[in-house]
Amino acid sequence: MSGATEGVLVERLSAWYGRVQALKEVDMDVPPNRVTAVIGPSGCGKSTLIRCFNRMHETISAARVCGKVILNGVDIYSPEVDPVQIRRSVGMVFQRPNPFPTMSIFDNVAAGIKLTRFHRGSELAESVERSLRRAALWDEVKDKLKDSGVALSGGQQQRLCIARALAVDPGVLLMDEPCSALDPIASYKIEELITELRGDYTIVIVTHNMQQASRVADHTAFMLAGEDGIGKLVEFGETKQVFTNPRDKRTEDYITGRFG
């Protein structure tokens, strides 16, 4: 199992889409085995930031990154690091549930193991069950593991995607607005799940929903695009402090709903 102790240390991270800069000199120390929320208005670079944590950002053509992201003492952007390897230890859950449509529920969860390493059948079944249990989905799908993954409801699909991400035993789990396509009850279940996983994984969750951030996160980062349209980190601290006693005026304005 995970038992990860690593956090994510971000140093002077900037990111571009072609000539457009999306992120400027972000410094941040994401604590291990805790939940960190990234909040801020649309277009402030929240998603870009976490997509730099598993080198997903650079899969977009002409996108590039400058700065350091240190994981387990290794800068994931140093030239000898293989981005594919990094993604095996940093899982990601996306805005819209994206189970593989041609695969069964079982195969969806097993996909990470099947497609990346040699494995034994028994080991596979075990790890699929464990992952589905961790994602609080096992009881709902244990009798229909052979059914298609896309036949599930939206909330179940998202938990399936979480199970899929957990199956490869990542230390870090990135969640990019995981509830934005879900109804309130399904969102609540995901939040509950995040609370369950807290302590075993370093979780970074991007969210539009400030209540959600205050409910699930130990630490909160507030980001904002400046006059120049480039996203910057405004404030990062314990969730309680950020929400009740923000150091920055802009954080206070955002949280009290004066803009954004």
Binding site: N98, F100, A111, A165
Partner: protein, 283 residues
């Protein structure tokens, strides 16, 4: 005023609908009459012997086109052997890695090839394969048909792969699945229904090609004796029999046309079934 203008609009709408329906009718007339004519003329000449026997020598009645039916199937098989690897791999290249000038060139050539008359392909294969081999052959025919299929297969493969949403690829990449493995295990299976549909349509299209076979496969009145030898094909046999002066040969030409049409119809039905299955899986 309001009431009158509404009546006017309704009248215009009626006229337009009538026009559209009439055009559909006109378009259907030749289609339906071809099918009906082929069916009536072909089905009456069709019998068990036609499907199982060789052509009889001139002067004798009876016999069939079994060799041509088998020949067409062999030619289509060879055409698939040639076109599917090239077409599918090119399509994957264009969809997944196609960014530079090379891909632009490939795309352009593919578009041009789609429009090349099939007889041109025939001449090309005649010059490049038949002349050096000093023999018309099944292989030459299969290659000619295959070359005609390649652009269609390439294009449909590329288009179907492009329809697979980026989010699925990202889902696989995020698990640490390498890019090639994502293509093989996630992207291609998702697009498989569409790719198969495109391939079957390409097969149906070349099944009726006659011109490129005239000087590659040539035709044969007997069972083929190896892939290096001339081979019979339905369209060739239909052509030869249709222009003959004998009534029973002409009747057999109709039967051949009917069998060919039926084969293509069956392929189209298979396409429909495959396409429907695909909609269920991707919802």
């Amino acid at each position: 005023m309001i009431v009158r203008s509404y009546g006017w609009r309704k009248a215009k709408s009626l006229v337009m609908i009538a026009l559209v329906v009439a055009c559909v009718g006109v378009a259907l007339v030749p289609l339906v009459s071809i099918l009906a004519y082929v069916t009536v003329r072909g089905a009456t000449a069709l019998n068990f012997a036609f499907l199982t026997q060789l052509p009889k020598p001139v002067g004798e009645t009876g016999g069939g086109m079994a060799n041509a039916i088998v020949g067409t199937l062999i030619l289509l098989g060879l055409a698939c052997c040639v076109s599917l690897p090239i077409g599918i791999f090119s399509g994957v290249h264009l969809a997944e890695y196609g960014k530079g000038w090379f891909s632009k060139l490939v795309r352009f050539i593919t578009d041009v090839l789609t429009g090349v008359p099939s007889i041109t392909v025939g001449i090309f294969v005649y010059t490049v394969i038949v002349l050096p081999m000093r023999s018309f052959s099944a292989i030459a025919g299969g290659i000619a048909l295959g070359i005609i299929m390649v652009p269609t297969v390439t294009k449909t493969t590329e288009e179907m792969l492009r329809m697979v949403p980026r989010s699925l690829r990202e889902g696989a990449w995020a698990l640490g699945v390498p890019r090639w493995r994502t293509i093989v295990s996630v992207v291609i299976p998702t697009a498989a229904g569409g790719i198969v549909t495109g391939i079957l349509l390409a097969v149906a299209r070349v099944a009726g090609e006659t011109a490129p076979l005239l000087f590659t496969a040539l035709g044969n009145r007997f069972w083929h004796s190896g892939l290096g030898q001339p081979i019979a094909a339905l369209p060739l046999q239909v052509f030869a029999y249709a222009i003959s002066p004998y009534d029973d040969w002409q009747a057999q030409a109709w039967a051949g046309a009917f069998v060919l049409t039926a084969m293509i119809l069956i392929v189209s039905i298979v396409v429909r079934i495959v396409a429907r299955g695909r909609h269920i899986t991707t919802r």
